[in-house]
């Protein structure tokens, strides 16, 4: 959640901008361009697309500021505009892909207990966790997430917004945010686990 000061600052800037003060827009540009670009880039993984989206969002903020009524935080409004512009981009080039997110769960026996070993790679060395190969695996796995899960994961876990804030931006209930987040994490965990297991096998053969 933005702090009270940030909220107060946003409200002041919006008021000044509605009154036609260009400096207020410049300040908003400074405060928000990285947030807009980062979200667009993480959703599209494409510099050109992220640039286009950022430009569109800046233009929309400028043109539509009068329609912003302050029912939600200004930052939520900006995130929503960013996502709408991002969805348009993705829609134009979307290859159809269906991933079943049930894949994220381990095997259970009929009583609901896990019946195989779960490897714990969480304490691997930094040189493995932060290798370029791991980075590539993460980027690919995130790209496979369906849009609904991906956006929640990006806002909550990557950008670090609170669950409540994500609900406000996406107009979702808290349980709905959590269930999408959980599905995304399970799916990504599974992908990472397969990769680290395979890595272990590979390096033990050497």
């Amino acid at each position: 959640m933005p702090t009270q000061e940030e909220k107060a600052q946003d409200e002041m800037l919006v008021r000044d901008m509605k009154a036609g003060q260009m400096e207020a827009f410049d300040k908003i540009f400074e405060l928000y361009q990285r947030k807009i670009y980062a979200l667009a880039f993480n959703m599209t993984r494409n510099q050109m697309d992220a640039q286009d989206v950022t430009q569109e969002v800046l233009l929309t903020i400028y043109r539509k500021i009068d329609t912003f009524q302050g029912k939600s935080a200004f930052s939520s409004w900006v995130y929503r505009i960013t996502l709408n512009a991002t969805y348009m981009k993705l829609r134009n080039k979307k290859k159809e892909q269906y991933v079943s997110l049930d894949e994220g769960l381990p095997n259970f026996n009929h009583a609901g207990f896990q019946n195989e070993k779960v490897s714990d790679w969480s304490k691997s060395t930094d040189s493995l966790l932060f290798s370029n190969e791991t980075k590539g695996v993460i980027e690919k796995a995130v790209e496979l997430l369906p849009e609904k899960e991906k956006v929640v994961f990006m806002l909550r876990d990557v950008e670090g917004l609170s669950t409540e804030k994500v609900g406000e931006i996406l107009d979702l209930t808290i349980p709905a945010v959590k269930s999408r987040l959980h599905r995304a994490r399970l799916f990504l965990r599974k992908k990472l686990s397969s990769y680290f297991d395979e890595y272990q096998t590979r390096s033990s053969k050497k």
């Binding site: 769960l105 790679w121 791991t134 994490r185 990472l192």
Partner: protein, 79 residues
């Protein structure tokens, strides 16, 4: 005792700290006796951390920053 499947269903709430104390306690009891769930919990948590650290911070590349400033100048400040 709650089963592994129930444990995993509750992980998100567990980390948000929104479980009622009794449920959280039964989850922790389960973890004491179930190494697979502990591994699952650790890797579940690490998944979020690792993805965040890998995908952030996104900085705007210099050429894009220049383009954005130009765009604002041409389309917004003096349209």
């Amino acid at each position: 005792m709650i089963c592994c499947k129930e444990c995993i269903d509750l992980l998100c709430d567990y980390f948000e700290g929104t479980l009622d104390p009794a449920t959280a306690a039964s989850l922790e009891d389960h973890f004491k006796d179930c190494p697979p769930c502990v591994s699952f919990l650790e890797t579940y948590r690490q998944t979020s951390d690792l993805c965040r650290k890998t995908l952030t911070p996104v900085e705007i590349p210099e050429p894009v920053q220049i383009k954005l400033r130009e765009f604002v100048k041409n389309h917004i400040q003096s349209p």
